[in-house]
Assembly symmetry: C2
């Protein structure tokens, strides 16, 4: 057995059974090893940003890592942009990057790069294999580090001679530690705040607190204390609809966020970092909770926030949850497509068990409120703000959950960064319906220009924020990569096409002119 | 005037008059400044790899930097993969990256990243603006560093508060130093080697030695000494055809390179690094010149190789060049499309003054020999081996040289990394004809699999090296981004369509089923 096979066997032993790959020459022994070892699915992407984004979507849904396989520094570099998203989502993932043979590095061949320096800013753990015999143990370490609760990116660089040389064999999967508890005092402090401020307090949720267990406990707490429930702007994964409580999402722009948070006198934060402005603006503070408001950190994102919420519910003697059962969907609207009608149509039609990947940017805003009482579904957001996450993340979520329908609710500008995702969806026959919001502009940037005081943009500012001239033909784009598509211009047409698309096997795309 | 405007005014004063941009919120003051200052062209790309690759193509043709404008760490990261190519091409370029406001970094907002760490491995110079008043001088330094002969990437990180705050104004362009001469002794040593070994010696050329001045001197030297002329496998820019001498290109695979170099007893190297294998293979040395062969380094890539070649010609008392005048093109072949017929058709029809960007990979190999005596043209290659360079580089070359026809000779797999280039070509109306080689596979990886001993690839290895299932429809892809396209399956059809395409204004694409 060579080093490559020992690495793949070890990964499979750890439960890593999907590899999102765009390999090159230095990864050929690993490619051969994928065939030598039964059980790991190899998914080709035609651009590495698809690999990393898909691993993010997979990890969010599966709570275990997929592996990516990329080629040297430049190949991995193409996958970097989606990793700040995965880092903020705290997604477990393992990146395997091939490198030149150890003895060939000194030649400074054209593709030689400092892979470690590129990987470190976007990885929680980085190692380079030093020997063929070490490949297996290094992969086990990568897995253990990726799984350190709640999850992180572990990057393993594997020189090609370590791959092709003889190695002793695989190693056993490592033990994974349980989630770290939050500090005991924080539960007591949180209980005191909620008792004192009641309806004037906000329980602010993020990260793992937005899964079912955390939300059930939060619902009990809210019922007992009368506090408000809010959540971070970009949840990595949030269970919504069905029996889940309605949770208000923090607005994107800081002025609106500050206004919403100012309504509360005190805060208990669980699973989220303290809310901050996405960008810095002149005269606007970075931190959104007004200075001086009483705040308790029940559990950080790296602590067991669901467990802490359950403890807090007990301390408040909260009754068992009486959870909403009825769904309440908006009526299907008619007329022109806009953010409101698009959101209503989706909320009206999304099936139980749907996975909604929301990278719809400005067009997506009304959907969240409209879908609060929809049938149970999972909501995934653009956690790190690096656009181009939606299509790959939806791809990975569909690989993780083949029995659930994935909806990629997607802005046009953002879609172009990783549009190659559509091809992988077609090849793998994934059940992804892409709802492409074609407004032919970087709408958010036009808003930001105005916020920056440019109320009448000049010719170049207009050109740099417009996706027109020429217009992108999204149906043609999807068809060219094997994904069937249709174009709609009214809410009625969207409803008709969405019903059809959600029932059809494999991927499809609806271009919505908004 | 704010910092952003002082920066743009300074850049324009340095002659930087093109900005390949994909900006975001933190770059809005720079976007506004592009409108406030007349004379800098703003070219939008829908993916940052297009910006950096276009800056590479522009810099290779213009010998001065274009500017790129990208958004924070993730935006710049999407542009990284093309920078190893630009680094090996030694292309002058200036990357401007926006960052969060200085006072906002501590908030660790979602898009916060260590931009300097990402930029350093792919930049010859990196600086972060510290104050609004410093923006102008920092841009002047970036320009000076980009222009340090023969050229490099200078990266300037500009916090958004430095952009929007008041600044004193622009600064004067810096002085640019002349190219460093090679050491005097190297000319003498080279002359001795060529006199001693004559036809058994090879003059090995690369970098700036492959421009017209260097090649004219090399032709004189070859005529005087009787030596062989060879050049590096991936020239950044080589003048070819017309009066230029025929220069043998080093083969890609090391065994073939070693065989070709073994025919010479001695070497004089000008403008190129010592030739090394692109990848390390078991049992194959990194260095391709057999051990013990006499070798003189006339000029490194960072030295004035054209000047050194002229000195060497003088020392050899070489006669003024008698340069070939007649062109000799292959006949237009008929029948099936394959690497040989495609190469012959292009060589038969490419117009004088064409710029040929060759990222055709395996399909491209016969073209180089077939076009040796074509009308004068410029040849650009994939210098760093990071695929996805061709379409952006062709885009930038067309911006630099609006009066010349650019041919993007492009492999299908490679094209998918930066396919968004086609949209920019359409928006800007660039005279680029893309000849897309659709063989529906990563052919080079199938060769590399066999080289790695996998003679009968398994199901996964086949899937990971195939671009079929589904087939990419390149005509549909181009059309969806506003570029007209046709598909051809025979050499006759290619010839007909190529004649038409080369005469049509604006971009177009011919999908060649090979």
């Amino acid at each position: 057995m060579n080093g490559a096979e020992s690495l793949i066997r070890t990964a499979l032993g750890c439960g890593i059974d999907v590899c999102f790959a765009n390999p090159g020459t230095t990864e050929m022994p690993l490619v051969a090893a994928l065939d030598a070892v039964d059980g790991m699915r190899a998914v080709l992407a035609l651009f590495e940003g698809v690999c990393t984004g898909a691993a993010d979507g997979f990890g969010r849904m599966a709570d275990r890592p997929a592996m990516t396989l990329t080629h040297l520094g430049p190949g991995f570099a193409n996958g970097i942009a989606n990793l700040p998203n995965a880092r903020r989502a705290r997604t477990p993932m393992v990146h395997v990057i091939g490198d030149h043979a150890t003895w060939h590095l000194a030649a400074d061949a054209p593709l030689t790069a400092d892979i470690e320096s590129l990987a470190r800013p976007v990885s929680g753990w980085v190692k380079k294999c030093a020997t063929p015999a070490g490949c297996a143990a290094d992969m086990a370490s990568a897995y253990a580090n990726a799984m350190r609760w709640p999850g992180r990116a572990a990057t393993l660089i594997v020189p090609s001679d370590c791959q092709w040389s003889e190695a002793p064999g695989s190693v056993e999967p490592p033990m994974i530690a349980p989630p770290p508890s939050s500090l005991g005092g924080s539960v007591k402090e949180s209980a005191e705040i909620l008792r004192k401020h009641g309806a004037r307090a906000t329980l602010f949720l993020g990260g793992r607190a937005l899964r079912e267990r955390g939300l059930r406990a939060a619902a009990r707490i809210a019922a007992a204390a009368g506090c408000r429930l809010m959540c971070e702007t970009f949840p990595a994964r949030m269970e919504r609809g069905g029996a889940m409580p309605n949770v208000e999402k923090l607005a994107y722009f800081p002025e609106q966020g500050i206004e919403a948070l100012s309504k509360s006198d005190a805060f208990v934060i669980a699973g989220a970092p303290e809310p901050v402005s996405f960008f810095g603006y002149p005269g606007v503070p970075s931190k959104l909770i007004p200075v001086g408001r009483e705040t308790a950190f029940l559990a950080t994102p790296e602590q067991d926030s669901p467990g802490a919420l359950e403890e807090l519910a007990e301390m408040l003697k909260a009754a068992p949850a009486v959870l909403r059962q009825a769904t309440e969907r908006p009526a299907i609207p008619t007329g022109a497509l806009n953010a409101a009608t698009v959101g209503a149509v989706i909320a009206a039609l999304m099936p139980a068990g749907a996975i909604m990947m929301d990278e719809a940017a400005t067009t997506g805003l009304p959907f969240f409120a409209a879908s609060a009482a929809a049938p149970p579904h999972t909501y995934l957001a653009l956690t790190g703000g690096a656009i181009g996450q939606g299509l790959p993340c939806a791809t990975g979520a569909a690989v993780a959950c083949p029995d659930r329908r994935v909806i990629a609710f997607q802005a046009d500008g953002s879609a172009m960064y990783t549009v190659q995702s559509l091809w992988t969806q077609a090849r793998e026959g994934l059940n992804v319906t892409t709802l492409l919001c074609n407004n032919r502009r970087y709408r958010i940037l036009q808003v930001e220009l105005a916020r920056a005081g440019v109320t009448e943009p000049g010719r170049k500012a207009k050109a740099l924020t417009s996706l027109a001239n020429p217009n992108l033909d999204w149906v043609g784009m999807a068809n060219s990569m094997g994904v069937p598509g249709v174009r709609v211009e009214t809410a009625e047409a969207l409803a008709d096409q969405l019903k059809r698309a959600l029932a059809a096997p494999g991927p499809n795309l609806i271009e919505m002119l908004v």
